[in-house]
């Protein structure tokens, strides 16, 4: 089987400071991988390098494209990369307002990716948007409301609908449940898990919340100071951590 995403030697420095160093892994179709670590450990830098928001200093990010098979997205032309990021890729930001157009209605937000790939039938775009609002448990009657009138949890679900409407194969998520209160988090996690399973999505989730990765991720990478210190099956890494830092991280979680 060909990996959907194959990352080789990703390195990014900010001047003398290491963002992330020599990160490598393969992600297969349908797999969900978590990346955990404390603030400043380089997990967001890594995510942005993979998603094409940052250009890594070294390394390759090989994606198995629909048309031409595996291609290095770091060296592919910008139009190709941007096309990828609005078709086969999706990016869920921590703050919904970074991923939504706050001045545009919920329907317009969901429909944008459709229109970006050429949809030109208003009725169909709107039906699809309404359908997606239902799937992410936003009342379809609010299709014409702006996200500014939505709660934080609704905004985050809207952002997810907006990203998934074109049926991407790989979703990057940056702290998707950060900043939400716990009851809303649980609902969002359940939703994400269902979508990942039903759509056969692969996902890379950056978070500092170990409970989130336990529920969502098949595999886990632990980062510290820009380096991957441990990787493996999520429950194995969490229940039998090998590296000193992972042991510290796991033992630092407060029990409820």
């Amino acid at each position: 089987m060909t990996p959907l995403l194959s990352v080789h030697g990703i390195t990014k420095s900010y001047g003398g400071h290491v963002g992330c160093a020599d990160v490598a892994f393969d992600l297969y179709p349908g797999e969900v991988m978590g990346i955990v670590g404390e603030s400043g450990s380089g997990k967001s830098t890594l995510l942005n390098c993979m998603a094409g928001h940052l250009t890594p200093d070294a390394g390759r990010v090989v994606f198995d494209t629909r048309m031409d098979g595996p291609r290095d997205t770091v060296t592919m032309s910008e139009p190709e990369r941007r096309m990828l990021s609005r078709t086969d890729w999706a990016f869920v930001h921590q703050h919904a307002r970074d991923g939504l157009r706050m001045g545009v209605s919920a329907g317009g937000n969901v429909g944008e990716r459709l229109m970006a790939v050429g949809a030109r039938h208003y009725g169909e775009i709107r039906n699809k948007a309404t359908d997606w609002l239902e799937r992410v448990e936003v009342d379809p009657a609010r299709v014409d409301d702006r996200p500014t009138t939505f709660s934080g949890g609704m905004q985050q679900r809207l952002q997810i609908a907006r990203n998934l409407v074109t049926g991407p194969r790989l979703v990057f998520m940056d702290e998707p449940t950060g900043g939400l209160d716990v009851s809303v988090q649980a609902r969002l996690l359940d939703l994400l898990r269902g979508l990942v399973r039903d759509m056969g999505l692969s996902a890379i989730i950056v978070t500092h919340d170990l409970a989130v990765v336990r529920l969502l991720a098949d595999r886990l990478m632990v980062m510290k100071s820009g380096h991957v210190v441990e990787a493996g099956l999520t429950d194995q890494v969490l229940d039998d951590p090998q590296h000193a830092y992972t042991q510290l991280l796991v033992s630092s979680v407060l029990q409820v």
Binding site: Y28, E31, A186, R187, L189, D190, R193, R197, R214, L215, D218, R219, G232, L233, D235, Q236, D239, D240, Q242, H243, A244, Q247, L248, S251
Partner: protein, 227 residues
């Protein structure tokens, strides 16, 4: 079906003076299809640890753990995931689920994961939940709100939903009343009849006597205890 060769495991506690604890060493045994083997030994002998190693939940340092064609010790994460989805079931003592998900979905999930359609999965789920005596009015609720015994039974229904060729059972009858204990033991017997290889931990001696073909004393593998 399940075969262990010279398996050893140590814990290194980096944050407690790098203490190294040897848990088990040189474990070798095999479980055939349709056979049920009980792990025995005093508390702390390493029964649960060994069970978790066989599930891939704990990392094994040396040796070989073969489930079917796959060596868990060397396998890639995705191979372990596929193995757990298709081949290797595990009923733990605790139910760990996403809050808010209805019991019906929790139990049906292993079936859905192997591609059983929603209708068939629900039919099988309903039959199992009835069998383990979970009242139907609770099926649409999340099991996180259930009593300990009910959670345990939901966990068992979930564990037996898909007919795994190999299963690990960690105290499946603990905290169950006689009637439910009997149901669970029947489920185990049916699995054996299907050819499932089972490794279990049973504190309940009568249960062990009824379903287990052999016992393996884990303390024999525990450094400092056996020697």
């Amino acid at each position: 079906m399940i075969k262990l060769n010279n398996v050893s495991k140590t814990f290194t506690l980096h944050n407690q003076g790098s203490a190294v604890i040897e848990v088990v060493s040189d474990v070798s045994f095999a479980v055939a299809k349709g056979e049920c083997v009980a792990l025995t030994g005093a508390s702390g002998a390493g029964k649960s640890t060994l069970m978790r190693m066989i599930y891939g939940n704990y990392l094994t340092q040396t040796g070989e753990i073969r489930i079917g064609d796959i060596d868990l010790v060397q396998a890639e994460p995705r191979e372990v995931i596929a193995l757990r989805r298709e081949v290797l079931g595990y009923v733990s003592q605790f139910l760990r689920v996403v809050p808010r998900v209805p019991t019906l979905e929790v139990v049906a999930e292993p079936l859905r994961a192997v591609g059983v359609c929603a209708v068939d999965a629900e039919a099988r789920t309903r039959a199992l939940l009835s069998r383990v005596n979970i009242p139907e009015r609770l099926w649409s609720l999340s099991p996180t709100t259930f009593s300990g015994g009910e959670q345990q039974r939901v966990n068992i229904a979930r564990g037996f939903a898909h007919a795994y060729p190999a299963m690990l059972l960690d105290e499946p009858t603990a905290s169950l009343d006689a009637a439910n204990r009997d149901v669970v033991l029947s489920l185990i017997e049916e699995a054996k009849a299907r050819g499932t290889a089972i490794i279990g931990i049973f504190h309940d001696e009568a249960a062990r006597a009824r379903v287990c073909d052999r016992e393996i004393d884990v303390s024999l593998f525990t450094p400092g205890v056996a020697a």
